[in-house]
Symmetry: C2
Subunit: 425 residues, 2 copies
């Protein structure tokens, strides 16, 4: 090992082979690059797709797509205020603390300009054969002026709120993805008819000049939503949804009920602890945390068997999608943010027609969701914060020497969300 | 045949067996019923699902779900202004001319109150074993105060515009369904980011207090949409979409391009004639009418191969759905209003994730769309109007004695949309 070498967590194909190795420290390859010294790197459920061989990765690669750290090198395009370029190209400095979204986004293409940053034409996912990941001591970040998010920008919003590093790590993927899962149905025109109190089709296709729907009854203006899957993203989705729905209740008088569902009792206990923490000790009666059968029963009881206005499907497999369809009401919305794989969708066309169902699928545009996610993190850091606590999303922080064991445990469900500190001895 | 008998078009199972027969004149069965004397009844592409035996209808039934006519009898609940009941229970009179949407909607249940009238808890489709259809001289209309639409309500908006009866028939199904196909994507949050000029996620989840997106370029604010399928509903969807997009261009400065696609040259010729009629003789360069291969080429050329912001899928089968997916861009919206049948959807989960695609499926809530459809009909009656003309959607009006032949021809694609005049000798 020379001074040019770092320690990284590497995947070796075909599957179940993780090794901690030395690798060259990356350097600037393009004037838009930054090099980040990693402070914390996360292990995420979707790392297991590679680990288990489901992504058909056929060469060695550095793992991980969640990391925060400090900028230690910048390409020649930084520090120059070029017209129309994202502001970070002018303002990012050596020493800045940053969050890296799990995909690269240039901030300049058609999709980035609109805010659809997960479909940037330069999009690359960290921790794949095409871009070395964050489970390393150093990472090269392409299009860094579009991709990175400065922690100072959060601190500027709320200078008196200290943000601990394990909470910041949540901004790389799981909290923005939870926010995205929650906001998609709340922004859908079908729910707008209830939230706005304007009868569908909302009196037209432009939002101005609308009149109240005099026929709406109190029971119509209660939103019933379900969250299917209480992994870390599902928990983030639930906390985000609660925040948005409390705002809607305060501003619009629209009441809500949420059923969160998971097979796993440990996850349900943590979700309950989080809800209790948000509501000062006791979960209110409009929030239920249940297994799948009990969850269905609660939905039927609450809605007279009509079903939910929207379902957040945060698992990413067909049985969760099927459950979402079964519990959504006609003209309902299914928001699905998990990484679905190869099987055909478990629906026939007639089921779609007969229920007037809407789907919003796909990968979270993390960079676009970050300002909103940061606001929720600032507000709810007491819920998310800490390591190993009753409501913490993070179970432990370990050094790379425990990486091999940690992957093995995580794969078998023997540990929860774990962060790596690449400098821990 | 007695004075109590009428002439009707009946389907006999299992398939391809249509007979013109006598049947009892229906009477009031419930205080909410009306009896309508039919003036015109339409033959629709979805009547062929029954005719071909695809709906597994196992008993005789009176066909048809599109009709207009005159009220000749009313149940005892009419004429009374009951609190909270739809206004038609107080105002509908004998002799009123009405349009019947193709499904019954009570106007009073949870779904009707919101505007999701196609999922009324009392929903029944005319021309099925459970509700005799409109290809008859008389029809019983359940929940008539919620279901029917008074032609006087259109005339009140524009007293100087005479509406011919064959145009009014379009309001029973195909024009509202076209409007619905067009409005779903235009109201979707993903298109709102472009139409409003507010970057996704629209600065939040409530529509107030939003700022313009300074990064949007001229090319981002051009909406590219495709219409797949130019049957009568696809033509109505195109005319509706043009109307909405011209409004959006006038009010927001958002430009648009539309590609309409069909395999059938006769349909494309009619679509072209309609567009020429709207634009005073010549189709503008931002509107293309093409076969499927040429349509794909035009989309690629116009969008630099990015694809369409939204696709209106107005066919109702898997090859059309697949085409819609292939030509929609990441973060695009697919609006699909056709009656899909039994096969599984032609997609794997990963395709949904990888393109962040949104789907709005299902049956048009005709009653809720009728005011908007009536406005478009008033504005564009010159395009739709008449029978057998170059731009007419209706090819001919025949008596019931031609019903058997007409079904046979329509099934084989040998004639276009045909109306029945049940009183024609």
């Amino acid at each position: 090992m020379t001074l040019d070498m770092q320690v990284v967590v590497k995947f070796h194909p075909p599957a179940y082979d993780i090794r901690v190795e030395n690798a060259p420290i990356p350097g600037i390859e393009h004037p838009d690059d930054a090099i980040v010294k990693v402070q914390l790197a996360g292990l995420c459920g979707s790392d297991l797709h590679v680990y288990r061989g489901h992504e058909d990765v056929d060469k060695e690669m550095i793992c991980g797509h969640e990391f925060i750290g400090t900028v230690i090198a910048l390409g020649s395009n930084f520090g120059v205020l070029a017209t129309g370029r994202p502001s970070l190209y002018a303002t990012l400095k050596l020493g800045d603390k940053v969050v890296a979204p799990f995909t690269v986004s240039c901030g300049e293409c058609h999709f980035c300009r609109i805010g659809f940053t997960s479909r940037c034409i330069h999009s690359t996912l960290f921790g794949t054969p095409s871009l070395p990941g964050g489970q390393a001591q150093f990472v090269r970040v392409p299009k860094a002026g579009g991709t990175l998010f400065k922690v100072d920008d959060i601190a500027a919003v709320s200078p008196n709120t200290p943000l601990d590093d394990s909470s910041l790590l949540l901004l790389a993927d799981i909290l923005p993805t939870g926010v995205f899962a929650a906001i998609q149905p709340l922004q859908h025109a079908k729910l707008a008819a209830i939230i706005s109190g304007i009868a569908y089709p909302l009196n037209g296709y432009l939002p101005e000049g609308l009149g109240r729907n005099a026929f709406l009854s109190a029971e119509d203006t209660v939103l019933t939503l379900a969250v299917v899957g209480l992994g870390p993203v599902g928990m983030c989705a639930t906390v985000s949804l609660l925040d948005m729905l409390e705002d809607i209740r305060a501003e619009r008088g629209v009441q809500f009920r949420i059923v969160t569902m998971d097979l796993n009792g440990t996850r349900r206990e943590k979700m309950l602890a989080m809800v209790e923490s948000i509501y000062g000790g006791q979960a209110p009666p409009n929030i239920a945390i249940a297994d799948l059968d009990a969850g269905r029963d609660i939905i039927n009881e609450w809605t007279g068997s009509l079903g939910c206005n929207a379902v957040l499907e945060v698992v990413g497999n067909n049985s969760a999608l099927r459950l979402a369809y079964d519990i959504v009401q006609p003209f309902g919305v299914i928001s699905t943010v998990g990484v679905h794989q190869g099987p055909p969708l478990p629906f026939i066309g007639r089921e779609m027609y007969d229920k007037n169902v809407s789907f919003d699928f796909g990968r979270c545009p993390v960079r676009a969701m970050l300002p909103m996610a940061a606001r929720i993190l600032l507000k709810r850091q007491d819920v998310f914060a800490g390591v190993g606590g009753k409501t913490s999303l993070i179970e432990k922080i370990v050094g790379f020497e425990e990486a091999v064991d940690t992957y093995r445990q995580f794969d078998k469900g023997l540990c929860g969300k774990t962060l790596f500190d690449p400098w821990k001895k």
